[in-house]
Symmetry: C2
Subunit: 342 residues, 2 copies
Amino acid sequence: MKLKEFAQQIGLSPTTVSRALSGYPEVNEATRARVMAEAARLGYRPNINAVRLATGRAGAIGVVMTKAGDYQFSEFMSGMADRLSGEDIDILITPMAEHDTGDELQLYRRLAESRRVDAVVIHSPRPGDPRIALLHQLKLPFIVHGRSVTDVPHAWLDIDNEGAIRRSTEHLLDLGHRRIALLNGRESLTFTLHRLAGYKAALAERGVEFDPKLVTHGNFTDEIGFRFARAALEQRPRPTAFVAGSMMTALGVYRAARSMNLAIGKDISVIAHDDVFPYLTAENMAPSLSTTRSSIRAAGTRIADLLLQILGGRDATDVRELWPVELILRETSRPVPKEATE
Amino acid sequence: MKLKEFAQQIGLSPTTVSRALSGYPEVNEATRARVMAEAARLGYRPNINAVRLATGRAGAIGVVMTKAGDYQFSEFMSGMADRLSGEDIDILITPMAEHDTGDELQLYRRLAESRRVDAVVIHSPRPGDPRIALLHQLKLPFIVHGRSVTDVPHAWLDIDNEGAIRRSTEHLLDLGHRRIALLNGRESLTFTLHRLAGYKAALAERGVEFDPKLVTHGNFTDEIGFRFARAALEQRPRPTAFVAGSMMTALGVYRAARSMNLAIGKDISVIAHDDVFPYLTAENMAPSLSTTRSSIRAAGTRIADLLLQILGGRDATDVRELWPVELILRETSRPVPKEATE
DNA sequence: TTGAAAGCGTTACCAC
DNA sequence: GTGGTAACGCTTTCAA
């Protein structure tokens, strides 16, 4: 059923019906109540595409999905979904094709120009990220999950990666560890740099020399965690502790230690960063894993919220949130074993 | 820039431009080439909402995201994205709010009636799933990832869960195991029933009595894997083998075994189902995990493909794909230890 | 092979 | 507080 028909059936003009349904203030409350009741009864629902064309609003928030799907994605999306359900705003996932890789910006440009979304979320920013400059220029509202070092002012929400890794490292140093390996994220991403900075800051503060051989970069997979941990443990003197980038990386570290007959939480300490997944919990690992913890799901919810605020008129350059990260000590962060200190 | 403007600039009518850009056959090839070149040069791009209103097509495929985000979701989505990039079709994620839970159908009804999507994917079907009847009735094209037992004919793509679990169980029986625990999925889902059927079929075939105490149901998390495996291992006589529902469940089983000083691949055998994740690989576990394997990402790609075919006119009732599942033997499936057979 | 003009179903401006 | 009507930007007959 279309507006015109429906309006006719209940004996009102399309205009009034439209206003009543969209919550405009000037319509008589009794009229509005009647319209809404009739709409429900007759099953009238505005054609969303007509609404979009008329208003210029898309009713959707865009997220570009990189081809390498990561396990954090669905938790983040669930978080966004939590906030957006009830708002009648959808989440639009734009596939990033293989061939777009070299030309990522083109994808964002198309997204902006096609008016399919009212705003977008940018993930995994790099320093001076060109996507930020582009969206700013195209005037498509956006928020960065993470941060970028750039002249272009932008809304962002980030966790305190620098602080998280600094505190992990400090804690391990306090336990007597001196050779601490850092299993960092992909090179060139802002959060990777922040984590490295936190690591270095902790070392510097305690007067421990930075050894680049103890730092590796890569995706957060069990495979890479294993390979790098294994390689690190083959060094002499070998590290006595690991700061692991993710839960998956930590799984790899556990395996590497076991494969060399080293006991986690005794011979080797580990603190990992945990984004909080319902299906894999640090508490449940054996031994239970000490972590820096921050809910990626909550971040998704808040990002959706902030984006709605920006769409509602809030100044985007004003939106900057740095979330603290909890350090939770469990069984894998222990004093350095005696023999290793000798 | 809008169509009218653009057409004027290059000295053609909007009609011709529209036809040229949409690949209509009646337009002169030279004209088309020129239009496309100019469009690229001047950066003309049709307003997607106007296109949608005019054509009645939404240019998007819908996926309802259940509030409990699972780790398979992003791999499946990546798979779909692989197929849809280049098609100018988006993926629309509709958040399912907490309060929708009791009234899931309402959500699908709204989605269908709002014309925001051309088709939807249904996940986690149950026998007689009411969503299938509803979408059929509303005439919104859809495909089921999984299957449902129902009178309503429907397009589906499923993996052979029954066969997978049957083969795992058979293999373990062949190795001499008699007490085999099944860590199954959430009760009432079709695939859970299929897996149970496969398990029972294998036992029946070998004349081993079915013991309901050896079967548990739950989400695929490490936590539940641990708890159920642990409880199972406390039974006397205890199971000598596990068929685990997922990689995460398997992690829990490993931990349960370790916590009781039982060696996986020696005291206890395990075969898990692996949906193939880039960040957690069965091969890399210690000991390496025997699995039934099927790529959920590939399923996503194929489902997108089939949906495009259906939208292109293929008869949906004709679309039925049952994917075989590979059994890959690694280190965790071993003959039952002697003492246990005594 | 090209063009004029009538939709597509709303919203929002301007009268009343 | 309500209604008439011109946008919104494209596609698609129908005519030439």
